[in-house]
């Protein structure tokens, strides 16, 4: 992993909020989130269903439904992608940031062969590329991903689940994107296939220096592969930091609960899982202040009144909690 001094900033998310307009009123899916992504790192973005992790991941490609209202900034190499025009954003997607989804069967075109997918992806962005050149690039890439060359002529249904997901990765890589957003990309796979795909992610990072944002509900997966972990709850980023540190010493009460409820196969560990009370809030009417306060075992009066700031507790380790007030924020009364 790069040391602090060499870190090259790739993405800066600044005070980003996203609200969906729904029948039941505005739904605050992402609430004032700020974080950075550096080149060549693997960051795990975790949280339970509905916490806004997928919404945030898609926002990095500016993929949001028309009825969504976004505020704040998402800077890619210093430029705010929220202000890009349609042509610019189309070129940005795929070439700068690409996305891999959970279900490759619905993401791949069932009547297109593997090579057609790859050639199309190249030619859409680089229309003057001859088919032979595009095919050559496709060959090199899938060889690198451990798919046999003859598979280029296969249709998606002829491939196994793991192989389909590797084709999706190839599609994400074929334009040399700097950032891959993998949204539950390994969730539908069996453990052994999943483990192999994770190895592949790590190799790709080491070899090409790409950045990977791994969005998952499986926290153990993040421990296995990521450099940093970001935890979301009810649309807010509650903790972000190096994996070794967050797993060794989680600071936010939600992170603590989450980590304690992860099952493991090792026999020496606790035989009881931690049981977190309550359920995530309805985001059309989120709780005031810290959104976790109704479920928080350590809630204080201030938690219900004001939202805490994401503030450092250690180098690179930020927590969104009144238990760790930052020096510049007002101390709770």
């Amino acid at each position: 992993m790069n040391t602090t001094t060499q870190k090259e900033l790739l993405i800066q998310v600044r005070d980003f909020s996203l609200t969906y307009k729904t029948r039941l009123g505005p739904l605050s899916a992402v609430d004032h989130v700020s974080f950075d992504l550096y080149k060549g790192e693997i960051v795990g973005l975790v949280g339970e269903s509905g916490c806004g992790k997928s919404t945030l991941g898609k926002a990095l490609l500016r993929m949001m439904p028309p009825q969504a209202v976004a505020s704040g900034e998402i800077l890619f190499r210093g430029e705010n992608i929220l202000t890009f025009d349609e042509r610019r954003i189309r070129d940005f997607r795929g070439r700068c940031v690409s996305m891999i989804f959970q279900d490759p069967m619905t993401s791949l075109n069932p009547v297109q062969r593997v090579d057609e997918h790859l050639i199309e992806a190249i030619q859409v962005h680089e229309p003057r590329t001859p088919v032979e050149t595009a095919l050559e690039r496709a060959r090199a890439l899938i060889g690198r991903l451990g798919i046999q060359e003859r598979r280029l002529k296969d249709y998606p249904h002829q491939l196994s689940g793991g192989m389909r997901q590797r084709v999706m990765i190839a599609l994400g890589l074929v334009l040399n994107a700097d950032l891959i957003v993998a949204d539950e990309a390994t969730t539908s796979l069996d453990v052994i296939v999943e483990a192999k795909l994770l190895d592949q992610f790590r190799e790709l990072r080491d070899e090409f220096g790409i950045t990977i944002l791994l969005i998952t509900h499986n926290i153990a997966l993040v421990a296995e592969i990521a450099d940093r972990i970001a935890v979301m709850y009810a649309g807010q980023m509650v903790e972000i930091g190096p994996v070794t540190e967050v797993f060794a010493e989680p600071r936010h009460p939600y992170t603590r609960g989450l980590l304690a409820s992860v099952p493991t196969v090792s026999l020496d560990e606790r035989q009881e899982l931690f049981k977190m009370g309550g359920e995530p809030p309805n985001l059309t009417h989120p709780p005031a202040g810290c959104r976790f306060h109704p479920r928080c075992p350590q809630a204080m009066p201030i938690c219900a009144q004001r939202e805490p700031r994401l503030s450092p507790v250690a180098p690179d380790h930020l927590v969104h909690c009144w238990l760790y007030p930052s020096p510049d924020s007002e101390v709770p009364a």
Partner: protein
């Protein structure tokens, strides 16, 4: 219940169970390959027993036949070959009324509670429906009371509030609780739980596992727990069978199995489970390839094309189950290697 006939207290005894599904073929293929019907060997000779009151798990990857085995045990499917005994009675070919009567004693909990619950029935109606069928003589007031009691038992309180709720009005975790309540209301002996918590979030999973454990003690239940997740299995199963491509490759007490996995496939499965500790990342390589096609399963040991230990013998001779450690049989020619540590 007549337990005296079965002093050993085996609630379920499965012997040589097979289920082959015919492969649907197109017209052209049917004409060309006349009479050559192919089969998916979903379950291909599986034997095990489940003690009364224990949680027996079946684990394996998708396509290993674990769900089909579960469905055969509760007779949702009729076996192609082999026998299923339930509380000492051979139920392999049971039909009609006799089978329907048996159903109240074995209930199922599936993965997706939204798909298991009728969207147009309130929870109260859905849970009471099983009683209507299996205990038609029960007065309505008493049925209502039993549903209310059951709602409270699964933690859906106040029960009167949840009684009138529709599935879309409650959360996923609450829905799965309702499914559990519906399974338990007919007072069954055996619960087939097919990935019952796979869809729930981590924090909800712990609560559901806890509930299942607690209800098991309270109602003296036996679970057949089907899962792809060995980490989850640890918190509920007493014994576990590992399946691969229609075969049982290893069976043992949970702690014994996790501490001393004998089959190379079990070892790979355990090693593949991510550890929630960044300081202990997996180092060993994973077996090559993916689970093969069950229409033409590999010869000999079905794991041999992916096995790091495979030899010529493995491709020819199918390994039999051997009890290498007490109560811990394994189907591998070379499992002794695991004993050497």
């Amino acid at each position: 219940m007549n337990t005296a006939a079965h002093p050993e207290e085996w609630l379920v005894e499965v012997e040589g169970l097979k289920k082959w599904f015919p492969v649907q073929q197109g017209l052209l293929n049917r004409l060309l390959a006349a009479g050559k019907q192919e089969y998916v060997h979903a379950v291909d000779g599986v034997s095990f027993k489940i003690r009364r009151g224990e949680v027996f798990g079946l684990a394996g990857e998708s396509g290993s036949g674990k769900s089909t085995t579960g469905r055969l045990v509760v007779r949702m499917e009729t076996p192609t070959e082999g026998t299923v005994r339930f509380a000492g009675q051979d139920i392999t070919t049971l039909q009609g009324d006799a089978l329907r009567r048996l159903r109240s004693r074995m209930q199922i909990i599936y993965q997706d509670p939204m798909a298991s619950l009728n969207p147009r029935m309130t929870l109260g109606e859905a849970i009471g429906y099983g009683l209507k069928i299996h205990a038609p003589d029960l007065p309505a007031a008493e049925r209502h009371q039993r549903v209310v009691d059951m709602l409270e038992k699964v933690g859906l309180a106040p029960a009167q509030y949840f009684y009138t709720k529709f599935p879309h009005q409650i959360s996923g975790g609450q829905r799965q609780r309702a499914v559990i309540a519906r399974a338990l209301v007919t007072n069954p002996d055996l619960i087939l739980a097919d990935e019952p918590i796979a869809m729930a979030d981590v924090s909800v999973r712990a609560l559901l596992l806890d509930l299942m454990n607690q209800l098991k003690r309270e109602f003296n239940l036996t679970y057949l727990f089907i899962t792809h997740d060995l980490a989850t299995a640890k918190y509920i199963c007493d014994r576990l069978g590992i399946m691969y491509l229609g075969k049982l490759v290893e069976v043992g007490e949970l702690r014994e199995l996790y501490a001393h996995p004998l089959h190379p496939y079990t070892q790979a499965l355990l090693a593949a489970v991510p550890v929630p500790d960044p300081r202990r990342r997996r180092k060993q390589a994973m077996p090559a390839g993916e689970i093969p096609n069950p229409i033409h399963p590999p010869s000999g040991c079905r794991f041999h094309p992916r096995c790091p230990w495979a030899t010529e013998r493995c491709a020819q001779e199918e390994p039999a189950m051997r009890e290498l450690r007490p109560g811990h049989p394994v189907a591998c020619h070379y499992a002794e290697r695991s004993l050497e540590g």
